[in-house]
């Protein structure tokens, strides 16, 4: 059964917002990017022929639209401390603060990855399977495995170095 655009946005909205955050630090620009992603998905949905492939379809559009965003972004990105507002719900709650810091550190490490590694790791973290990742990015299954392996290695080095 096909889903409406609103249903699709509600289902994937959080995941798409997380993907957008890896491409754009500035909050206002990130919302703009997310808006563009949503618009692109809404426009493309009538062309989806196999509903079972909705997930790779949505994330493929998200990454392609985000690539267009960074290719058009000429200005230098603002520093993470100014733009990112990954605040814990309970300010002052130690556990939430630690979790927030870990999320921020992970986000920064992912942003530092080169584009191909950034894309595979975000799709993996969004729980796409290897075949779905291959379909989303238009690469072979073998390539997915290699890129994920290297991305994880680079993340390990970056996160261990920062801790």
């Amino acid at each position: 059964m096909s889903k409406s655009a609103d249903e699709v946005i509600r289902e994937f909205g959080q995941g798409l917002a997380r993907v957008a955050a890896t491409y754009e630090r500035d909050r206002a620009l990130r919302e703009e990017l997310l808006q563009e992603i949503f618009l692109a998905i809404v426009s493309a949905l009538p062309r989806l022929q196999d509903v079972s492939k909705l997930k790779p379809f949505v994330y493929r559009i998200a990454h392609n639209r985000a690539v267009r965003h960074i290719q058009q972004r000429i200005r230098e990105p603002v520093s993470g401390a100014e733009a990112d507002e990954l605040a814990a719900d309970a300010v002052g709650h130690e556990q939430a603060m630690i979790a927030s810091e870990r999320s921020t550190a992970l986000l920064e490490a992912i942003r530092a990855l080169s584009l191909p590694y950034r894309q595979v790791i975000t799709l993996l973290l969004e729980e796409l399977t290897y075949p779905e990742i291959a379909e989303s990015l238009g690469i072979s299954l073998a390539n997915v495995g290699i890129r994920i392996s290297r991305a994880k290695q680079q993340l390990k080095e970056a996160l261990n170095h920062g801790r």
């Binding site: 609103d6 946005i9 509600r10 909205g13 959080q14 798409l16 917002a17 997380r18 955050a21 919302e31 997310l34 808006q35 949503f38 618009l39 692109a40 809404v42 426009s43 493309a44 062309r47 989806l48 379809f57 493929r60 559009i61 990454h63 392609n64 639209r65 690539v67 267009r68 960074i70 290719q71 058009q72 972004r73 000429i74 507002e85 990954l86 605040a87 814990a88 719900d89 979790a99 927030s100 870990r102 999320s103 550190a105 992970l106 986000l107 080169s114 584009l115 191909p116 894309q119 993996l124 973290l125 990015l137 238009g138 690469i139 390539n143 290699i146 890129r147 994880k152 993340l155 390990k156």
Partner: protein, 194 residues
């Protein structure tokens, strides 16, 4: 096979505070934006062509060389610009059919097309400048007698050029920067594939 590192990453990844409800709410009003922009561009092109057609009619009615030459400029050069701009927009991407590599390759091609448009814009201004020079030559040779109109027309063309040339220079600089970014990102992808 358990991957503890990945499980940790998953927890931290999901721990992000990401809100999208506001963006979702604005979606309904934003859906018409691309259609409005295209409509505006096509409308502007239609107005310019209409003015050119009116100049042509005036030239025929009053047997006026001045109107005829103005009509020729507008009807020949402006449609070329309008079609080029329309083709650039029409060639919009179907995001679900693209890959990151194809998006970037298209970015490079679009940048090259935009640079050609910038050069066409400069050529258009050069044609208008030559046109004004020819009119003054005709005035000096006594072929036409339209001093007041010529002064006004020259000022209008000069002000248009003074506004348009800096914009063309800014556009060219921006497009070259975008092209550089595309090529860098393409290099990151193709380096892995080689």
């Amino acid at each position: 096979m358990a991957d503890e590192f990945l499980d940790e990453l998953q927890k931290d990844w999901r721990g992000q505070d990401v809100a999208f409800a506001d963006v979702h709410a604005r979606l309904r009003s934003q859906r018409w934006r691309p259609h409005l922009a295209l409509g505006f561009e096509l409308g502007a092109a239609a107005v310019v062509i209409g003015v050119g057609a009116w100049f042509a009619l005036m030239a025929w009615k009053h047997d006026s060389l001045l109107f005829g030459m103005s009509a020729a400029i507008l009807l020949l050069a402006s449609p070329a610009l309008a079609v080029a701009a329309w083709l650039a927009r029409k060639d919009s991407l179907r995001w679900e059919e693209e890959t990151p590599q194809s998006v970037l390759s298209t970015g490079v091609r679009r940048a090259d097309a935009s640079l050609r448009l910038v050069r066409l814009g400069r050529a258009h201004l050069a044609v208008i400048a030559a046109f004004v020079a020819v009119l003054w030559a005709c005035e000096a040779a006594g072929l036409i007698h339209a001093w007041d109109f010529l002064v006004f027309y020259t000022i209008v063309c000069a002000v248009t050029a003074a506004c348009h040339l800096p914009w063309l220079a800014w556009r060219e600089k921006r497009v070259l920067q975008e092209r550089t970014i595309c090529e860098r990102l393409l290099g990151e992808i193709t380096a892995l594939d080689s």
